[in-house]
Amino acid sequence: MMFSPSNPGPSDRQDWTVLPLDTVTLSNADIENAVQVSQAISKPDRQWQIYRHALALSGFKQWLRSRSPRFPLHAETCSLYQPAIASLVESVCQLSVNNMKVCLLALGCLDDPILSIPRAVLDLSDYAAQIYILVDVLEEHQQVQVVGYGTHSQLMSQIIERNPTSWTYDIAKATFTTDVDSLLLILERLDPNSVPLPQAVGVETNAIAILSQRLNQLWPRLRDPEFPLEDVLSWQEAAIILQCVEQQNWLYQLQMGREPLPLRPVFEDKYQSSAQNIESIAAQPLAPSIVNAGQWLQNQLGQIAQDLEWVLMPSLSLGFRGLRSASLVDNFETVVASLNADGIAISPHAQGAYKDIVQNELTLRLYAIIWPLDKNEWVLLLILGTTPGTPAPMGMRLTVYDQSQCLADRQLSATSSDGYLYAQVVGDRQECFWVVIDNGSGHPIALAPFSFDD
């Protein structure tokens, strides 16, 4: 490296910068307005980016007005004012200037020659632009300057490295043309139809279904305002969300702390077992399904549980004598006996159901046992094993979440002598529990959540 950090000599002089003549000064009202726009979302790191981009838009508008007051600019519907999108895409896209699709990219005072540009505005037709405009935002000094521009094809040809899961592309700032006078010429004179954009590619319903499952499962982390979304979701997942209004809104509601109902839980594990079902299931309305386990106490399975292929177990108060199927009794009784030994006692008033989950030709069996603890609280005991005669797969995993966090995360290890996993949680009557299972393949399945409403 040519530069030696230990020698600060020349830097003292270069510390100061002359304000370029063509900067635009932002008013206090511009700042306040940008702050307000940023408040539409709750994640602090995203708020800041939206704020900076709102400043970029203010400055750009002002600049355009001063240079070419006759250009029609339509910003009302741009991404900045759609918080569900703004919280996912760091730019001002879906902006139109003189019928040209324009995207603003705000630069910071670091003057980094490498720019990280959201893939959304280059890869997805809904967000892509014909002209990308670089806007320097000196937030602290309330100054904005339009510094360069590039076309979609120019940018696409100059991507430095493609990390397949990253949400951004790295592109050198030098790719952009710095003569902003010619930008005005292009905006004024170029035929918008002549600048190609990426073609719209539909999202497969299968992919949406899998993503919805994952979102349901990841939601405690997605909601954490301090957890960057990029750390939880891959770009491929983000891309699907950006193309599905339902998922977008769900994520937005979640981040705003509004606890939306789970996405498409009716899906469950069906897509795994029969691929031809996917189309029909995906076509169903996205009504949330919650298994009301409270009904089991009245010996009723409930429609939703029935649809999801839960099987009600005979009353446990009979000490399992009611279980006619010998194998079922064997299996379950063994487990309960060993739980008892561990100090987990099942109430005589308990009631349960089980379901078999087939994935990759492997069948897991999940028992859900519930009983009321007192007036306000109830217990959910989950036991995950295999069907009788099948050994439990290594890495088999059982995870239970409540509204805000992971309550239990059990995994079968090589040293474990048990052929099952269990988790017991207690909740009040307003609470739901989400259960995620994995047969060790690394493809977890989220089940419709359990509630207790007797």
Binding site: M1, F3, P5, P8, P10, S11, D12, Q14, D15, W16, T17, V18, L19, P20, L21, D22, S27, I31, E32, V35, S38, P44, D45, Q47, W48, Y51, R52, R65, S66, R67, S68, P69, G108, C109, L110, D111, D112, P113, I114, S116, L138, E139, E140, H141, Q143, T151, T168, D179, D181, S182, L184, L185, I186, R189, L190, D191, S194, V195, E226, P228
Partner: protein, 470 residues
């Protein structure tokens, strides 16, 4: 090597705002006592270190005397820093060292007891002495740093068109991704150091940026250093995260980011890393745009005009429409200048008259930018240049002329189908229009005291006359 006078002469401002240098006899005597005649053989670091130690002792006269020596040095260093700034920017931006000194040279030069309740507002010098860390750098470094970071001084310079990005703005604008890249590739830090800094930056963002968005008072938006409360919250954030992340706890245990003082130090260090990268990335650009001939640096004529393939056709077209040029130029001037005037009328500053007068003085009276400042009641050429923005006006007029010319020819009236074609056709006309603009540019680069003669200037003056009589 140290210079005795730097430690025994105090530079202050007198009541009239004049800079004065005063010998502090007590300081000179004290230096003799401590160093004999050997001071000039010592590096500044050693002298400062010895005086600093003396200052820490409880024995009253020695402590005070050592302090006054250090304050002398601080006044010298402040004076130097301001002189350098004035030297670098003062001429073009209309300020002198004397404009800067009142912000930072606040030491009254009197003896007073430390921590006395009678102590007036703490001067920058006293504040520096209370906070420096001589183990990390010499006193000169700290003084220069503090002058640079001084908020009122920064505000003043910004108004003159010179700014310095604060550490806090740099940290605000740096993402974790950038930080990792810069510390890895540019500073080649260890993985552990990088993770620690990434972690620190996250904590800083969580606290400082959120607070900044909540800032009620919008005046004086320069970023101030994080308060102790903010630093505390950063510590708390890191502690909380440590509980939830195993990798973080590794980082956490390995360093001392567990109190506000250390967090502050680490933030400054991190900002310094990023600033070094910034300067490097700007390519050591001095940004010292010569404002003596700002109007000379026009991009309108700098494209080497490539003629379109159909050269003859272009020629015919141009010949036919040369006449049109004047008409279009008039229309373009009226449009571009008219738009600017109406915008300035609407703006809060309400400096439309100033703008018109400036254009008039420049084009119709042949005055230079520097000369115009006075009648417009502006401080320096820089402000005039910023007000008139001639480069932009010419570029916009040029663009408007081109558009109008093209519009009159059916062949060229349709929109272009690609950027290359647009630029090609543009360059054919450009030659003509550029000639007009270039003429205007050329004539303004020399000295003159007569009305400008270029077509652009004459048409502009006609226009200005028309609106003043309208």
């Amino acid at each position: 090597m140290a210079v005795v006078s730097h430690y025994s002469q105090m530079i202050t401002l007198n009541m009239g705002g004049q800079r004065q240098r005063r010998q502090v006899t007590e300081a000179a005597d004290f230096l003799g006592q401590i160093f004999g005649n050997g001071l000039t053989d010592l590096p500044n670091r050693d002298v400062q270190w010895t005086l600093w130690k003396q200052m820490q002792t409880q024995s009253a006269p020695e402590s005070l005397l050592a302090e006054i020596c250090l304050r002398c040095f601080i006044s010298y260093q402040i004076d130097q820093a301001c002189a350098q700034l004035a030297d670098q920017f003062g001429h073009n931006h209309g300020f002198t060292q004397l404009d800067l000194l009142p912000y930072v040279l606040s030491d009254d030069g009197r003896f007073y007891r430390k921590s006395s309740t009678q102590t007036p507002n703490v001067s920058l010098a006293t504040d520096i002495l209370n906070t420096i860390d001589l183990e990390r750098a010499g006193l000169g470094h700290w003084v220069t740093q503090r002058v640079k970071q001084h908020s009122d001084l920064n505000q003043f310079l910004l108004e003159q068109g010179v700014y310095r990005v604060s550490d806090w703005a740099i940290l605000n604008d740096t993402s974790g991704q950038q930080l990792r890249r810069i510390l890895t590739e540019f500073h080649t830090l260890s993985q552990m150091e990088i993770e620690t800094n990434a972690y620190l930056l996250t904590a800083y963002h969580q606290v400082y940026r959120s607070d900044r968005l909540k800032l009620k008072k919008r005046q004086g938006r320069l970023c101030s250093p994080p308060s102790t409360d903010q630093l505390q919250r950063m510590v708390a954030f890191m502690e909380r995260k440590t509980l939830s992340r195993a990798s973080a706890s590794l980082v956490y245990q390995s360093n001392t980011l567990n109190n506000p003082v250390n967090v502050m130090k680490s933030l400054r260090q991190l900002a310094d890393y990023l600033r070094q990268y910034r300067i490097y990335a700007r390519g050591g650009r001095t940004d010292n745009v010569s404002l003596n001939t700002p109007e000379g640096q026009v991009s309108v004529g700098d494209k080497t005009a490539e003629l379109p393939p159909d050269e003859d056709a272009a020629d015919t077209f141009l010949a036919q429409y040369r006449v049109q040029l004047k008409i279009c130029l008039d229309q373009a001037i009226a449009e571009v200048v008219g738009d600017r005037i109406s915008q300035l009328q609407k703006s809060k500053k309400g400096n439309a008259d100033q703008f018109v007068q400036g254009l008039h003085l420049f084009h119709c009276c042949g005055m230079s930018m520097g000369e115009i400042a006075k009648p417009l009641k502006l401080k320096a050429q820089y402000q005039v240049t910023r007000l008139l923005k001639l480069k932009e006006i010419r570029a916009d007029v040029r663009r408007a002329v081109l558009a109008k010319l093209c519009a009159s020819v059916e062949k060229l009236a349709s929109s272009y189908v690609d950027i290359a074609q647009l630029q090609q056709m543009d360059s054919a006309l450009e030659e003509q229009v550029n000639a007009v603009i270039q003429e205007a540019v050329d004539e303004t680069s020399g000295t003159r005291h007569h009305p400008l003669k270029s077509l652009f200037a004459r048409r502009l003056c006609d226009y200005l006359k028309s609106i003043s009589t309208a």
